[in-house]
């Protein structure tokens, strides 16, 4: 089987392993957040299914602040307190399906 995939690009490899929409979204997020940057990571699933761990790996060495499950996020005042000032981006991760990129303002507006 290995010879079938010889010479694939990293994007093709990730598409094969994780699905094309996931791979494309990771590329988009990488373009938005610089390599030495930081972001807020939110688990979009109803329970801890590991989506955040998976997405964090593909975005490293960008540093993540984990806020936990999206359904358990606190009110906007408390949420703002927990978000480091240097972070502008929020990545919502799912165990199945591509992650979603939004701004901190969008996340706060949703609460």
């Amino acid at each position: 089987m290995s010879f079938v995939h010889a010479g694939e690009s990293p994007l093709a490899e990730r598409s094969r392993e994780m699905g094309a929409p996931y791979a494309r979204e990771i590329e988009e997020i990488r373009r938005a957040i610089p390599r030495d940057g930081a972001y807020i990571l939110v688990d979009g699933d109803g329970a801890d299914l590991g989506g955040a761990v998976w997405v964090r790996f593909d975005l490293e060495p960008r540093r993540a602040v984990l806020l936990g499950l999206r359904k358990d996020l606190p009110n906007p005042v408390e949420l703002r307190r927990r978000i480091p000032p240097e972070t502008q981006w929020v990545v919502v991760a799912y165990a199945e399906g591509p992650p979603r990129l939004m701004t901190v303002a969008q996340l706060l507006a949703e609460r």
Binding site: V53, F57, V65
Partner: protein, 474 residues
């Protein structure tokens, strides 16, 4: 196939320094090259990655290409100079007889076995150069940490030392992530390239070569061949993505390091250099995984039944002491490195485990856990037929563990059981032992696999001898 040459370079980064260092160690220097390669890889990885780990934390050595090359080159140079110096010094003395290729190594069965095992190892290499890392712990811990280390150029990366960042198990020992980062840095690979996977794949042939070295000595070539084939026949050792050589987990490396230490400690019975080298492998175990600390001090204890039976007890006691010093130093280093890292996203066993927490779970959970463990061992994925074959072989060939080989068998049983005792302890106190067992039991078995496979070889020897005797009696 753009990954092939960089992946080979990654293997050589550890293999060549290891070959150099084995020149300094008489019990390894006199081995035939194939058997020496297994030890060389482990020694090179422990020495190079360990030196980078220590150098980075204690002396601010950057984890960058020139520094990595310099560390490796020093070790290769030490070996080369030792080779030249040793040849000159030994030229006037009677030469020790080189260890012969043992009986059976030239047979067609042997050639067929070697060809099959080489084919499987090449398959692992092909998988490593083709596919990204997919196993859970590889992405959550080891490869994740490696990316952070490489980006920061230090083992004291701010992302580890600042509590706000999301890092799983930030205080886990980093020998393997340092090795990964060193390989990627050496070949200038970006994050998406998985050149480091070949290093993990190498642990499978390394395991086989060390198994062969011990098994051929204690059980003979035919039994050693069968034990190697038993390991190769189970994907738990090979293509299993959650702990085998195709993964980026630390369990198989830990099993190789502790197993190599045990074999070396037992087979180089007069050599202090051999015992120190076993200690270096044990130091590697301490720096590879949390359980490594417990195993590193248990392995010399397990060797006591065999070594202290000998007449030169004082020398053996000195050798055991020599084997314990490197892991003690590694433990002190680990404490220093961990001191600056706030723990988070971790079970934090040390925070709540006391002697009292083991009771009554250590007893009451046994029926449930034993059932789950057995079910996992007898499942085709990842063990194939291994646990359908090995226990009956042990039961039928039990005579191979008696008599002269009884102390050796005792030592191997203790060493194989040590990781399982750690597992039992963890399952006794964990809040969800069934889930923990589901994701860790096979990996604990891998940690103790080398002594278990050696034990299997001893019983297979008995079975093969019985068969031969029965055939000759007709």
């Amino acid at each position: 196939m753009t990954e092939v040459l960089p992946s080979l370079a990654g293997i050589l980064l550890f293999l060549l320094p290891g070959l150099g260092l084995t020149e300094l160690i008489p019990p390894l220097r006199t081995l035939p090259l194939p058997r020496r390669l297994g030890y060389s890889f482990l020694l090179g990885l422990t020495a190079v990655a360990g030196a980078l780990y220590i150098g980075s934390h204690l002396f601010g050595l950057p984890l960058r290409r020139m520094e990595i090359l310099a560390v490796a080159a020093v070790m290769v140079g030490v070996g080369l100079s030792s080779l030249g110096w040793g040849k000159g010094r030994r030229s006037g003395l009677p030469q020790p007889r080189a260890t012969p290729w043992v009986i059976g190594e030239g047979t067609r069965w042997h050639r067929a076995t070697v060809a099959l095992l080489a084919f499987i190892s090449l398959g692992l290499f092909a998988d490593a150069v083709t596919n990204p890392v997919t196993g859970w712990d590889g992405r959550m811990i080891w490869s994740a940490q490696a990316r952070y280390l490489r980006a920061a150029g230090t083992v004291d990366a701010p992302v580890l030392r600042e509590a706000r960042w999301f890092v799983s198990h930030p205080r886990y020992p980093l020998l393997l992530p340092v090795a990964q980062a060193a390989v990627s840095e050496l070949v200038g690979a970006d994050e998406d390239r998985h050149v480091f996977r070949a290093v993990y794949a190498m642990f499978f042939p390394a395991l086989l070569l060390i198994l062969w070295d011990g098994a051929v000595r204690w059980a003979g070539a035919p039994a050693a061949r069968l034990a190697c084939l038993a390991a190769a026949g189970s994907s738990a050792f090979t293509f299993w993505q959650d702990g085998g050589a195709a993964s980026a987990y630390s369990d198989l490396p830990l099993g190789c390091l502790t197993g190599a230490a045990l074999v070396l400690l037992l087979r180089s019975r007069r050599s202090v250099a051999g015992a120190v080298t076993a200690g270096i492998f044990l130091a590697g175990a301490v720096l590879s995984k949390n359980e490594g600390t417990l195993l590193a001090f248990f392995i010399p204890l397990a060797a006591v039944p065999l070594l202290l039976r000998r007449q030169d007890r004082r020398r053996q006691a000195a050798r055991l002491l020599a084997a314990v010093i490197p892991p003690l130093l590694a433990l002190a280093f680990l404490a220093s490195w961990r001191a600056g890292i706030p723990n988070r996203y971790d079970e934090g066993y040390t925070g709540f485990v006391t002697l009292g927490t083991f009771w009554p779970g250590a007893v009451t959970r046994i029926p449930l856990l034993a059932r789950l463990a057995l079910r996992q061992m007898l499942s085709w994925d990842p063990w194939a037929a291994f646990w359908w074959i090995a226990p009956p072989a042990l039961a039928v060939g039990w005579r191979g563990l008696r008599g002269r080989r009884c102390p050796l068998a005792m030592t191997l049983i203790l060493a194989a059981a040590a990781p399982l005792a750690i597992a039992w302890g963890a399952y006794s106190v964990h809040w969800n032992p069934a889930t923990l067992l589901r994701v860790t039991w096979t990996r604990f078995l891998l940690q103790g696999s080398l002594p278990f496979l050696l034990l299997l070889a001893l019983t297979l020897r008995d079975l093969l001898l019985s068969r031969k005797l029965a055939r000759n009696s007709h």
